[in-house]
């Protein structure tokens, strides 16, 4: 019997696990997929919003500013890709200016630091490639870009190091309660019992809630498509550039990424409930995003595109996060509807969950021997001297496997043996950054496959690209019987 079962190891589940791992109680994370951060967390805008968007009296409004401040500290502590580059919301006409003013006032109410309304000249000074059509902007220096899957992974890793149990491929398919009030969660491997449950199941959170509680919210899977541009486009934007929301829509953003790319997107397309895993891109969606982005940055070179992807956001009707104990199921705590700014709020959301557990008397005492912190060596970011030192210390740093992103064999070996080890080609990608570049793994894929086989003692035919079933090689062509 666990004290706490967390359903889902996206950024919300991972933040909860990290927070709770500081205290002395038993925690298990049940993740449906074969790796952490495999849903919305790996496919979003990768932005920590400053916090001027949500109304002050909402969960979003209350948690955003604290969330990004905590996220900044966590990224520093856990060596997660992070850069506080600031954001601009740009207005294309006088008609947009009242909206900027509203956002500005909300920002002040939410306590967003350094927020400022700027004129066209200042906006262009901050962002030289902005469209000439821009007449003014809202400048928020506290907005940041982050590596979202590393953020979740790092928190989950430290949690695991401090005793949290992570179970992968553990999709919850039914929930019951014993007469004593304990929850029994059915997963493919059997039954997991827990005194309390935190529902952080992302797009599936509504379905999971309904296993045990009276349906009280509905999640609409909402697809957003993106373009990711090559390093050669880096520098075209310095900050996150949002478009002022208006009657035509919320607008798309253009932003740098911590990997030195440029991200462009998303659109917002509600999907039927049964398509919560439909992350397909469409020609129409890709075109729309591209055309919208060019309004902000006309010089954007979409021929530099190296990847299109889509993510699913968990939109709920209320427009706010669903945070709280299910009224009819004491001990069941929902963290649902975590659409934007869910990534930004995650550490603050985890605090709310943690306080609830404390109030219920479930949370243990603070651990004395807590092992926080994490380092992630990114060879590419080192100076020639440091590179020389790294190779001297471990020759595996001398072998570049991913040449687009300059990732070494040592970093891949590390990814295959860390606390939550990669077991797939994309698992290595999320940890070491391989295959993220312009060749998209065409060159390094076979070499990473070879390293996975060597380090994890697997046959090449067993190696997966990503999810279960995503086999890379079909059959042995030579040397078989």
């Amino acid at each position: 019997m666990y004290d706490v079962a967390i359903i889902g190891c996206g950024v919300i589940g991972a933040a909860c696990a990290y927070e709770l791992s500081r205290y002395d109680q038993s925690v298990v994370i049940l993740e449906a997929k074969n790796d952490v951060a495999a849903g919305t967390t790996k496919a979003n805008s990768a932005i920590l919003h400053a916090g001027y968007d949500p109304a002050p009296d909402t969960w979003m409004g209350k948690l955003n500013v604290r969330g990004v401040r905590l996220a900044r500290d966590i990224c520093q502590r856990l060596d997660v890709g992070y850069e506080q580059c600031g954001s601009l919301v740009v207005a294309f006409s006088e008609a947009d200016l009242p909206t900027l003013e509203t956002l500005y006032q909300r920002g002040l109410a939410n306590g967003v630091p350094g927020i400022e309304l700027v004129d066209a000249a200042r906006a262009h000074e901050l962002e030289p490639e902005l469209s000439d059509a821009v007449v003014g902007a809202l400048w928020a220096p506290s907005a940041a870009i982050v590596n979202p899957w590393e953020f979740a992974l790092a928190m989950a890793e430290v949690a695991v190091r401090n005793g949290v149990e992570l179970r992968l491929r553990a999709q919850v398919t039914a929930v019951t309660r014993t007469s004593a009030g304990a929850f029994e969660l059915t997963v493919p491997q059997g039954i997991v019992s827990a005194r309390t449950v935190i529902n952080a199941a992302g797009v599936a959170a509504g379905q999971v809630h309904d296993f045990i509680a009276t349906p009280s919210f509905h999640i609409t899977p909402t697809r957003g498509q993106y373009h990711l541009l090559d390093h050669s486009s880096a520098g075209i934007v310095r900050h996150v550039v949002f478009q002022c929301p208006n009657e035509r829509g919320k607008g798309v953003l253009v932003a740098p990424t911590v990997h030195g790319n440029v991200i462009v997107g998303p659109d917002a397309e509600p999907l039927p409930d049964d398509q919560a895993d439909n992350t397909a891109c469409t020609a129409a969606g890709q075109d729309f995003v591209a055309q919208q982005a060019l309004l902000s940055i006309p010089k954007l070179n979409l021929r530099d595109n190296i990847r299109n992807f889509a993510g699913i956001r968990a939109n709920v009707d209320s427009g706010d996060f669903i945070i709280g104990e299910a009224p009819d199921v004491p001990g069941w705590f929902d963290l649902a509807g975590m659409k934007s700014p869910g990534l930004s709020c995650a550490p603050a959301v985890a605090e709310v969950a943690s306080d609830w557990l404390a109030n219920r008397g479930i949370r243990g005492v603070r651990k004395q021997n807590y092992q926080d912190g994490r380092t992630h060596i990114r060879f590419v970011e080192h100076t020639p001297d440091d590179r020389a030192a790294l190779v001297a210390q471990d020759p595996a740093y001398g072998r570049i496997i991913c040449r687009c992103e300059t990732v070494t064999e040592a970093e891949i070996i590390h990814a295959l043996h860390e606390e939550i080890p990669a077991t797939t080609i994309d698992g290595v990608k999320r940890r070491a950054g391989t295959g993220m570049g312009r060749c998209q793994g065409g060159f390094c894929g076979p070499r990473i496959l070879e390293l996975i086989c060597r380090e994890l003692d697997m046959s090449p035919l067993e190696v997966l690209q990503d999810e279960d079933g995503s086999y890379v090689l079909d059959s042995l062509a030579k040397g078989g019987e």
Binding site: L228, S232, D277, N278, T279, A280, C281, T282, A283, Q286, R303, N305, I306, R307, N308, F309, T383, P384, D385, R387, A388, V391, A392, P395, A396, Y397, G398, R399, I400, R403, C404, T406, E409, R438, C439, Q440, G442, F443, G445, P446, P460, L461, L464, Q465, D466, E467, D468, G469, S470, Y471, V472, L473, D474, S475, L476, A477, K478, G479
Partner: protein, 442 residues
């Protein structure tokens, strides 16, 4: 820059060749034959030969050796030639950056030194000084992202070259039922290879109304096996969550956009992409060596020298070739030129230059700059924009026709060459000449 890494004292090399594929091997060998004695090839793979090692089909070497060789045989011939020289080879070694000389030479008659940063498991991080560099990094394949194919992103979508590596060098088949997008030579070759190994190739799909590959490959790789070639078609959707399950193909109109209502669905588990090659010029770009947006390779003189004195480029890094024979030829020119540069005491700066640009019907020309010397013949490579029947190639300066050439047929998939003599160019020194191609009426 003074760092611990580059404080290592080395006798400077005369030539460092970046890349040990066909271009690098031929350049190093030619430089040695021309008299250089401190030559190093840096190769990131564990063996020399580059992409030829996985190109196990034949058809290489007819021009160079007068023989039909397979890729590995062609590579091994060059490796054997290099093995008989004193050229040094650093395998499993990656060049991290190329730093063009910033300071003039110390002594009269010496050349300013460039630096090459490299890293390997065996030798660690090194910075080597050299009088000349030959860039021979080859090219890479365009990917799905570059052409924005809609749909899901399951496993089972490979560049043709990656699938070729798996089958020919690792011994694994990537799928049982495949569709191939792009009718360039690699796509055609892979259609045959997959079929011979027991997979079913449903079709080769080509956006353009003509194939990008050599006609003999259409005969031997598609016709021999009854594989349909769908010209003026493209993939409009990839389906399947974990592994490719279906691919939707549609006809395209004259604007290259899919025509609604022409969709057909193929049940396949694999998509191979053969949608173009791009010269691999990251090192070149970082070194601020001027590139030609048309070739996506360095701007070069007639001797394959880039716009940085002492740095040369050849092979697929400078223009994508169809035939390795011409890569070798171009690389031998570069290697010999590097040797001449090292041995020469005269500067070439005072020699007047003619600029070459592509005119109507021509997508690029190489070299882009020719130093005009009497008695010199320059072989100019170019590609036409669309297939042409009987046509005329014209070199002109403004409205003046300087020289014309005739062809029976030309196609974008087949690189063309014309020879220009110094005497033809002398009148136009300092100017710009245009090379254009036009189909002639019957």
């Amino acid at each position: 820059m003074q760092t611990q890494a580059n404080m290592q004292q080395n006798t400077p090399y005369e030539l460092i060749v970046v890349g040990g594929g066909p271009a690098g091997l031929a350049a190093a060998n030619a430089a040695w034959q021309a008299g250089l004695r401190r030559v190093l090839i840096v190769e990131r793979d564990r063996e020399l030969g580059g992409i030829l090692n996985q190109c196990i089909h034949n058809g290489f070497g007819l021009h160079r050796f007068g023989d039909q060789l397979t890729g590995p045989e062609y590579a091994e011939r060059y490796e054997n030639m290099v093995a008989e020289t004193g050229v040094e080879v650093a395998l499993d070694t990656m060049v991290l950056s190329v730093e063009p000389a910033t300071a003039p030479a110390l002594d009269v008659g010496e050349k300013p030194l460039h630096h090459v940063h490299l890293i390997s498991q065996a030798e660690g991080y090194r910075v080597l000084a050299t009088q000349t560099i030959v860039l021979a990094m080859g090219c890479r394949e365009r990917t799905r992202g570059a052409i924005g194919i809609p749909g899901t992103r399951p496993a089972g979508v490979y560049t043709a070259g990656a699938a070729q590596r798996y089958i020919n060098m690792e011994g694994y088949l990537v799928g049982k039922r495949a569709i191939i997008l792009g009718s360039g030579d690699i796509g055609l070759i892979m259609a045959r290879r997959m079929t011979l190994e027991g997979a079913k190739v449903a079709a080769v799909v080509e956006l353009m109304p003509y194939s990008g590959g050599l006609s003999r490959n259409i005969v031997q790789c598609l016709d021999d096996f009854g594989i349909p070639l769908l010209l003026a078609h493209t993939i409009v959707d990839i389906r399947g969550h974990r592994r490719v399950e279906q691919v939707v193909v549609a006809e395209v109109g004259p604007d290259n956009k899919p025509v609604a209502g022409t969709e057909q669905t193929f049940d396949v588990d694999t998509v191979l992409l053969s949608v173009g090659l791009l010269p691999e010029n990251e090192l070149t770009r970082q070194a601020n060596i001027p590139l030609d947006p048309r070739t996506r390779g360095a701007v070069v003189f007639e001797d394959m020298q880039t716009q940085v004195p002492g740095i040369f480029a050849c092979g697929n890094v400078v223009q994508v070739h169809d035939l390795v024979d011409f890569v070798s030829q171009e690389a031998e020119l570069a290697g010999a030129a590097a040797a001449a540069y090292v041995q020469s005491t005269d500067s070439t700066e005072s020699i007047s230059v003619v600029e070459l640009t592509p005119g109507e019907g021509v997508s690029y020309v190489l070299p882009q700059r020719i130093r005009v010397r009497d008695g010199q013949t320059t072989s100019v490579s170019f590609r036409v924009r669309k297939p042409m029947g009987r046509s005329q190639i014209c070199l002109s300066a403004g409205d003046t026709e300087i020289k014309t050439f005739r062809r029976q047929r030309m196609a974008p998939g087949e690189m063309e060459h014309v020879k220009l003599r110094g005497a033809d160019l002398a009148l136009y020194a300092g100017g710009t000449l245009r090379l254009s191609a036009q189909e002639m009426g019957e």
